[in-house]
Amino acid sequence: MLDSLLAVGGLVLLRDSVEWEGRSLLKALVKKAALRGEQVHVLGCEVSEEEFREGLGADANSRLLYHDLFRDPLSWSEPGTAVPGGPLGALRAMCRKTGPSPATVALDSLSWLLFHIPCVTLCQALHALSQQSVHPGDNSPVEKVCVLGLLHEELLGPGPMGALSTLAHTEVTLSGKTGRTSASILYRRPQQRAAQQTWWFSVLPDFSLDLHEQLPLPSELRPGPHTTQVDPTTHLTFNLHLSKKEREARDSLTLPFQFSSEKQQALLHPVLGQKTGRIFYEPDAFDDVDPEDPDDDLDI
């Protein structure tokens, strides 16, 4: 996963949040680039140099150039000793510092830079930084500098977010579930279709990556799923089964709202001109139909 992120140059955005922090992934990328033999420049604004270098190993640290904007970015402590031009000057100086060999630039973090540099200026500087050709004036194919930018999602409005997304060739959004981190990568290479990939990973103490398979579904995480089918009618105190006779009797019942054919015909083909309704009487099996008129013996 790290190789695919470092392969194409240009701006790579690492979007993290308070819950899913991205600095460990940034350090993993920096270490990978350094171990590949590249020169890595880090513009550190949010953590101290010791903290950033911690855990990267001696090899990687020897190829790492840390430009410290953490200790005294605004020249409060000793006026005149800090980087001239403030944060913007430091960023522009990075553009000039990358030498002839392939280089990677890590910006920790872009949110800090956005607080101190206007968004438009920052975007122009980033564009200049990422478009820089590695062999100027040479006939060999131009290799772009890879710029890794750490971005804190909650601190960013939709405007700057959109501007940075447009500049970026690759966007990595960090999230996760139940203690596992996932990186959703959107590749937006020029003249190619946008591609999306999701990786589940964890960063090991030496800042190498441990990739996981697709996160197991929560049901699989629970041990010993009950697969045996249990028949619910086995241990009941009442009888749910039907004997053959009972089944036949049940099938031969007529339902209460079942229409006789006479009534059905009368409903389907209503006779016009009939003012009053008609009564259809269907005697049940238990009805005692007596043809005699019960009112016959009345003496009226």
Partner: protein
């Protein structure tokens, strides 16, 4: 300090962690009990404490501190506690003639939104170890109550974040001390500046303690809920951002913590 909270955070005054930024935030409730806890904790841990108190007077903290077993007056006299009383100092700076040296709350005098450089220089001067043969304190601690007041006083969120960054560089990284700061969370009031400050500090913190009122409203026996989030541990995967949630009840001299739904009043 509250012994139960020490257990939850796995710290003791004898061996506390160093170089950490602890963020206290409260939403829909008053989180100042956490400030009192940390103040008494670090005084008992024999640390030099610089307390920037912008909300309450010295006597308020002193009275609560006495209930928790520390005397702020004695600590101030022996030099362990440096107390910047914002309420009194602001009256001084606004109504008295300006001194030669800049006042920590100099930004109150400035018409436009200034920066907190003078406040930072006050903190730095206070906590830098002085080689004058005085008692060696363990390490310095900066306590701020609270940062949201600075936003209300007209300082921009970026200026407050810059101030906190400079304090971190000096207190946490250089002097290996700790910082504890309280920020109010008004997420339902759509306060953009407050959100920027809270989120910006959350990204820089090692430990976030968040006191919230109960979602169901006010209760006599459970005063709120405390979420604890550990971030940025030195080993990336050993303790992957642990988080715990407990409910609490504030008593006269103590705060009792219990798991959600396990209040003794309910059981």
């Amino acid at each position: 300090m509250f012994p139960e909270l020490n257990n939850l955070l796995s710290t003791t005054p004898d061996r506390p962690e160093q170089g950490k930024l602890t963020l206290l935030c409260d939403a829909k409730t008053d989180g100042s009990f956490l400030v009192h806890h940390f103040l008494s904790f670090y005084l008992k841990a024999n640390c030099k404490v610089c307390f920037v108190a912008l909300v309450q007077s010295f006597s308020h903290y002193n009275i609560v501190g006495q209930k928790l077993g520390v005397s702020l007056t004695a600590a101030r006299e022996r030099g362990q506690l440096v107390f910047l009383e914002g309420l009194k100092s602001s009256a001084d700076i606004l109504f008295h003639a300006q001194d030669q040296e800049p006042h920590p709350l100099q930004f109150l005098r400035e018409a436009s939104a200034g920066n907190l450089q003078s406040l930072y220089e006050f903190v730095q001067a206070t906590l830098n170890p002085v080689d004058s043969g005085e008692t060696a304190w363990k390490y310095p601690v900066l306590l701020v109550d609270n940062l949201s007041v600075l936003l209300s006083l007209g300082v921009g969120p970026v200026a407050v974040l810059d101030f906190m960054q400079y304090c971190r560089a000096t207190v946490c990284c250089e002097l290996k001390g700790n910082i504890v700061a309280l920020v109010h969370d008004n997420s339902d009031a759509e306060d953009e500046e407050s959100n920027i400050l809270l989120n910006g500090l959350s990204h820089q913190s090692h430990l976030i303690l968040r006191a919230e009122g109960l979602a169901t409203g006010f209760c006599k026996d459970v005063h709120g809920q405390l979420s604890i989030l550990w971030r940025r541990s030195s080993q990336p995967t050993a303790q992957r951002d642990r988080s715990l949630t407990y409910q609490y009840k504030i008593q006269d001299k103590n705060v009792s913590f219990f798991a959600k739904g396990m209040s003794s009043a309910v059981l």
